[in-house]
């Protein structure tokens, strides 16, 4: 009788996932152990450039998505519960935007920009033999190329998440106040009343973990390439896909731990 489940096709993704997590934690361990290299001026320079690219230059895209998300969600809520009770609107906005969509959408923007860029940059360097060039200068490529990128992207994701949430709430309430009979000030006051320390900390924790996952995964896939240029798009696609899947998985885990 033919086997319904092919053990080979079942085993390969499991092995691949295990290898990914092993390499992920190896790299993360290296980064945490060697974080002090950020004191070295050339490493700090890469770190600052990374924050600029992943954080400052992402502000335009993040602002637009935040305003749209805020407007859409506020419109839906006010359609459902009306405008007379800003407290309910604020509570639902808090649940959706601060707890869930804020960290997730901010991380997705960073994946779209920085994950793809980091993976392709490192992959190109690998294919062109530049990782060996860095090593030949007596510089550990992980110290010079990975540590500042991981630190920079992680900080950028945390900052962008906070910025996203603020803009989305203000934008959403502003729009509701402009087109409907909604009290902008009462809405904001309700948010401040309802916002707990746990909400803020869990939201930042999510952003921090997302930042680590995005940066380490992107560097990992970027550095895994061989010597062929055709490996580069494959590395980028895998990094982006792996990041998106891991992000949702981690989001579920953190939400379950803190809010269920």
């Amino acid at each position: 009788m033919a086997a319904i489940i092919n053990p080979d096709s079942l085993g390969r993704p499991v092995v691949s996932a295990l290898l990914y997590w092993r390499d992920f934690f190896d790299m993360l361990h290296h980064v945490l152990r060697r974080l002090w290299v950020l004191r070295l001026p050339p490493v700090r320079s890469v770190f600052q450039r990374q924050i600029y690219f992943s954080g400052v230059q992402a502000i335009g895209a993040v602002s637009m998505i935040a305003i749209i998300a805020g407007v859409v969600i506020t419109t839906q809520i006010t359609s459902l519960v009306g405008t007379a009770n800003p407290g309910v609107t604020a509570r639902i906005l808090l649940w959706t935007l601060v707890r869930e969509l804020g960290p997730l959408l901010s991380a997705i923007v960073v994946i779209a920009r920085s994950s793809a860029a980091t993976a392709s940059e490192l992959a190109t360097m690998g294919v062109r033999g530049e990782i060996d060039n860095v090593r030949r200068l007596g510089i550990d490529p992980l110290d010079y190329l990975v540590v500042p990128r991981v630190a920079g992207i992680t900080i950028a994701v945390v900052a962008i998440t906070f910025y996203f949430q603020t803009i989305a709430i203000v934008g959403g309430f502003g729009f509701a106040a402009f087109v409907r009979d909604f009290s902008f000030v009462r809405g904001l006051a309700s948010i401040v009343d309802l916002l707990s320390l746990t909400d803020v900390l869990v939201s930042l924790l999510k952003a921090f973990v997302f930042g680590l996952v995005i940066s380490v995964t992107s560097c990992l896939y970027g550095l895994r390439v061989g010597r062929s240029f055709t490996d580069i798009p494959r590395a980028v696609t895998r990094a982006v896909l792996q990041n998106v899947m891991t992000l949702f998985l981690i989001d579920v885990v953190i939400t379950y731990i803190f809010f269920v």
Partner: protein
């Protein structure tokens, strides 16, 4: 009693050459004339610790290169200046940033401190100030092979290493520029009495002009 050689290759064999032996002491220039490109590439890999030979022992800066751990190798590479055939530059750094990178990373030396030395070397190579300023602002992909090698050369020199390894530095460079390069390299070699310079050269006419204390020809 003579001092132990700074560079020692003992019966090194790879796919393309066999039983290569060489002992160079402080202050000597060694010229390896390679009949085929693969020999040069393999010798370069062996000497920089990037690849292991099939057999033999490689000692550079009195360290057994093959026995080094990754961390030891990184420390050892700070003692060995390398000028790869293609320049070996980092593509997302400008020429000036490439030059500064190792000295800034390892010693924290600010760019301004080495600027004068860099300018002097490039002037000896025949570059005018304006050309040099333009060169320093460009990315490696915007440079010619010769310019990339100049940048790699200066980057290695700034570190003042006791051992220098050059991989076909004059190949493809026009004769006049190659002559100036050779002059700069030999002056740099003599500037420090205990420096050992290793030239890995293809079998071409200009290679004969590299005057060396030890001349080794790798046959096919």
């Amino acid at each position: 009693m003579s001092a132990a050689p700074t560079v020692q290759l003992e019966k090194v064999s790879t796919r393309t050459f066999n039983n290569l032996t060489c002992r160079a002491s402080a202050g000597q220039v060694v010229r390896f004339m390679c009949a085929v490109q693969e020999q040069r590439e393999e010798l370069w890999g062996v000497m920089t610790g990037a690849s292991a030979p099939q057999s033999g022992r490689v000692d550079l800066a009195r360290r057994d290169v093959l026995a080094l751990t990754e961390q030891q190798r990184l420390e050892w590479l700070q003692q060995v200046g390398t000028v790869p055939h293609d320049g070996g530059l980092i593509s997302n750094l400008k020429a000036w940033e490439n030059i500064v990178l190792p000295v800034w990373y390892h010693r924290g030396t600010a760019a301004a401190e080495i600027e004068k030395t860099v300018v002097t070397i490039f002037q000896t190579l025949g570059l005018e100030d304006e050309v040099l300023r333009h060169l320093m602002r460009r990315l490696p992909d915007q440079l010619s092979v010769t310019e990339r090698r100049w940048v790699a050369m200066v980057r290695a020199m700034i570190m003042e290493p006791p051992i220098m390894i050059y991989d076909a530095p004059f190949t493809g460079v026009e004769r006049e520029a190659a002559t100036r390069m050779l002059k700069v390299l030999l002056e740099f070699h003599r500037a420090r009495g205990d420096r050992v310079s290793l030239f890995l050269l293809p079998d071409e006419p200009f290679s004969e002009r590299v005057s060396a204390d030890i001349k080794i020809a790798l046959e096919t």
